[in-house]
């Protein structure tokens, strides 16, 4: 693991912190200004009895909000989340996976485009060629991912082909114990992907770990012309990382694992090094989103580097302000590195203490 002890890295980390603090001040000013903020946060500030614009001057000050309760994002009216300063813009609403109860919603205007344009900068052009067409083998419907990947392809000059895939149906099948039906549905999705790959010249793709496995059981992706695979949506273990690189894809296809969700955007992976032993290390898109690893029993306490804790997300964009949101994931805290001079997360996996098991389907 790299550490923040080298002088140049230390300076970068400090600069990053200062940039983050400045960004926090800008975002708090936007979201709590009666002219630009959204009804939810303006009402919140009124009831809380303190003015964040006066009392929040740094990222650390966001602790004053306490942990954000995700139930606030469930149900309507979703317009309570639309900042007045952006009310003139066309609004999208995206939902989370829906694997547990009423899905959480996030309204957006441009965030999904901005996030994926930033992510695009991390993709190597030789494996994700500019102008190449994409296959989006992932969830359709009210998912941000669907439009985001299409925008990624367009941003890089390509066209995205996509499939019909309803992950909620798969989750229902699995919960009912209809495993065979779920397998058939997965095959239905793979069949759509195979048709696209055979009919069009596709060089890049997004897919989920399970769908990548299923697709590679049917086709040699290198022979099919694929040069780069961007993978995400569900948990990836180090062993899956190794298996994907060594056996599913081979040495000539670039594998880009990512960690993301509708609320955060996209955390990119650090290029793997032998000493990582296939650990997947992600860094969030600071300052637009920050990931921290907090103590299981005290969510205000950040754990030490290399220690395990729960993932805590803070989203800081003009469209969305979500401070201190406890994710359904756990991981190890990763030190800043030269490329990403801020905290990262290692080996993200479902939160082990949850009593209610989460069903993850094909998506």
């Amino acid at each position: 693991m790299s550490t923040a002890t080298q002088p140049d890295l230390f300076a970068k980390v400090q600069a990053s912190k200062e940039r983050l603090d400045a960004h926090v001040r800008e975002m708090v000013e936007w979201h709590f200004n009666p002219e630009t903020g959204c009804p939810f946060w303006l009402n919140w500030a009124q009831e809380a009895g303190w003015d964040p614009r006066k009392e929040v001057t740094s990222y650390a000050d966001l602790d004053k909000f306490g942990n954000f309760q995700d139930d606030e994002l469930r149900g309507g009216p979703v317009r309570r989340w639309v900042p007045k300063g952006l009310a003139h813009r066309p609004v999208y609403v995206f939902e989370t996976g829906g694997s547990t109860g009423v899905p959480k919603s996030r309204v957006q205007m441009d965030d999904f485009r901005i996030d994926y344009e930033n992510f695009s900068e991390t993709l190597p052009d030789e494996h994700f060629p500019k102008g190449a067409d994409w296959l989006m083998l992932g969830p359709s419907g009210p998912r941000r991912l669907r439009l985001a990947v299409e925008h990624l392809a367009q941003h890089r000059g390509g066209i995205a082909f996509s499939v019909d895939l309803d992950p909620r149906w798969v989750i229902k099948l699995i919960k009912r114990g209809q495993i065979q039906e779920a397998e058939l549905y997965k095959q239905h999705c793979i069949d759509q992907a195979l048709t696209i790959l055979r009919a069009h010249e596709v060089k890049c793709m997004f897919t989920t770990p399970k769908l990548l496995e299923a697709l590679c059981e049917k086709i040699n992706l290198e022979k099919a012309g694929i040069k780069g695979v961007f993978c995400g949506g569900t948990e990836m273990t180090p062993q899956f990382h190794r298996f994907a690189v060594e056996e599913l894809l081979g040495p000539n296809i670039y594998f880009a694992p990512t960690y993301g969700n509708t609320l955060m955007g996209l955390a990119t992976h650090k290029a793997p090094e032998p000493e990582d032993n296939w650990a997947i290390i992600y860094y969030p898109p600071v300052p637009r989103a920050v990931l921290e690893v907090v103590d299981f029993d005290d969510a205000t306490k950040i754990v030490g580097y290399g220690e395990t804790g729960r993932v805590r997300l803070t989203t800081l964009t003009k469209e969305t302000f979500i401070p201190r949101f406890l994710e359904r994931d756990e991981c190890e805290r990763e030190a800043p590195c030269d490329q990403y001079p801020w905290d990262g997360v290692r080996n993200v996996r479902p939160f082990s203490r949850f009593q209610k098991s989460v069903v993850e389907g094909v998506y």
């Binding site: 399970k210 496995e213 059981e217 273990t237 062993q239 899956f240 298996f243």
Partner: protein
């Protein structure tokens, strides 16, 4: 720490994901096993037909001979174990360390497995009832002039193994002689025995490429069962229920094995006490062939009191004690949960007579370990919730019933030992579809005869018969 790799058609593979099994006493990690991800298993299963083709290249006689050699190697030789090697005594100590079984019980199970390997011809004759095992090579033959043909139902058999006791491995071990490759998911704390059986077979000449050994998650186990042509599952009630509708899978859940005493047997129960004690407590009550309930038309209370007096003598001893009769549980919390479950149902007149004789509860701490000491539950009626239960330690319920209740009141029963000379009851037992193995007379529920199908017929599971006709010049 010792590491056990995945075996991908015999080839060791060290996974990035690992799981550790702890020593039952120290609770410290004892062995680490590579964990197979589900996709890796599915990818390997796409090649199972290649493994099947390899075994088809041997004659049954050759495979039987190799099984005979493997028996000796399993019992007596130092065999590969990961990057190191393991002597027979080290094997005994390792199984004991992660399962809690005393050495003497591990050795008994070891002898059972070696026995089935050594007796492979007898086993196959018992399973197939063929007069000539060469028919297994040609797939065709005749019995008394009647044509016979059969074919394998799948390219391999996937087996989801338990952690409670190594004896169950004797059930799948004959698959190799039946030319069926094995895809094994070992129990999380009994990683040792399947690995050693594979190594013994390989040393005896069976190609390593016909064995898959995949320590994996519950989901990985599901991939094995879904992806292999035939399957075998050892598990609890919930696991068994999940696969109960799949005819490809032979399920080994709780056995609910029983002893019934009627008429003269019920009147003379005292002379069967040794048999009852053995059936209940052998192998520390961990086997599905252990007797978990006794049904008598005589004085149930008197029988239960006498049995309680005998079983209450069982005490924890050192793991190397040759007379050890009860095993500690590898996880102390499990012992407490099971005991609490039994206690919660001790109402409506049910009583643990063993605890009464001992003067103490069934959870015992000894030498840093947690034990479940025997329990003999006298239940007031056949409808009581504890009348027909199985808990994986020396536990037996004694139920007094009316003669006309038998055998319909028994329900699913893996092994039934009937102690009675009542011929009409014999007939009713023989006609009962819920009894897996019927012992008429004083035979322990634990006793297995290798020339009989046991806990399902492996040959019928792996092969199917077909109609067959041919002109004479086309069959040799």
């Amino acid at each position: 720490m010792l590491h056990l790799p995945i075996l991908r058609y015999g080839k060791p593979y060290r996974s990035v994901d690992t799981a550790t099994a702890v020593h039952y006493r120290t609770r410290q990690p004892f062995v680490e096993a590579s964990q197979a991800n589900a996709g890796l298993i599915r990818r390997d299963l796409a090649r199972q037909h290649e493994a099947a083709a390899i075994l088809q290249g041997f004659t049954t006689r050759e495979l039987i001979a190799m099984a005979g050699k493997a028996s000796g190697y399993f019992l007596n030789d130092t065999l590969p174990l990961g990057d190191s090697a393991q002597s027979p005594q080290e094997f005994v100590e390792a199984v004991s360390a992660t399962t809690g079984l005393p050495w003497v019980m591990v050795r008994r199970n070891m002898a059972k497995i070696a026995g089935v390997l050594a007796s492979m011809e007898t086993v196959l004759m018992g399973l197939t009832r063929l007069p000539n095992l060469d028919m297994l090579d040609s797939g065709v033959g005749d019995i008394d002039g009647r044509a016979l043909s059969f074919f394998p139902r799948g390219d391999s058999m996937g087996v989801i193994l338990p952690s409670n006791s190594p004896g169950v491995h004797s059930l799948w071990a004959p698959a190799i002689a039946l030319k069926t490759p094995l895809i094994l998911k070992p129990g999380s704390s009994e990683l040792w025995t399947p690995y050693r059986i594979i190594q013994a077979y390989v040393k005896a000449g069976v190609p390593a490429e016909v064995f898959g050994y995949y320590p994996t998650s519950h989901a990985g186990g599901g991939e094995i069962l879904r992806g292999t042509g035939r399957g075998m599952l050892f598990g609890d009630v919930a696991a068994a229920k999940a696969w109960s509708g799949d005819p490809r899978i032979e399920i080994h859940g709780p056995g609910y094995s029983k002893i019934i005493l009627a008429d003269d047997g019920a009147a003379g129960w005292e002379k069967y006490l040794d048999l009852m004690v053995d059936s209940v407590s052998n192998n520390s009550g961990r086997s599905c062939v252990n007797c978990s309930s006794i049904w008598t038309t005589g004085d149930g209370r008197a029988l239960a009191e006498a049995l309680a007096e005998r079983l209450a003598r069982i005490k924890p001893t050192a793991e190397d004690d040759p007379n050890a009769a009860v095993a500690p549980l590898a996880n102390p919390d499990v012992a407490k949960r099971i005991s609490a479950m039994v206690d919660s149902e001790l109402d409506g007149g049910a009583e643990d007579l063993c605890a009464k004789v001992r003067g103490s509860g069934r959870v015992a701490e000894w030498d840093g370990c947690t034990y479940l000491l025997p329990s003999v539950i006298h239940v007031p009626s056949k409808e009581h919730s504890l009348a027909n239960r199985e808990f994986g330690y020396p536990h037996v319920s004694v139920v007094q019933v009316e003669p006309h209740d038998l055998p319909e009141c028994l329900g699913p029963t893996l092994v039934c030992t009937a102690l009675t000379n009542d011929k009409r009851l014999h007939q009713r037992l023989l006609a009962n579809p819920h009894i897996g193995r019927l012992n008429l007379g004083p035979i322990s529920t634990m006793k297995i005869s290798w020339d009989q199908p046991h806990e399902g017929n492996l040959f019928d599971h792996l092969y199917s018969r077909r109609a067959f006709q041919a002109v004479p010049e086309l069959v040799g």
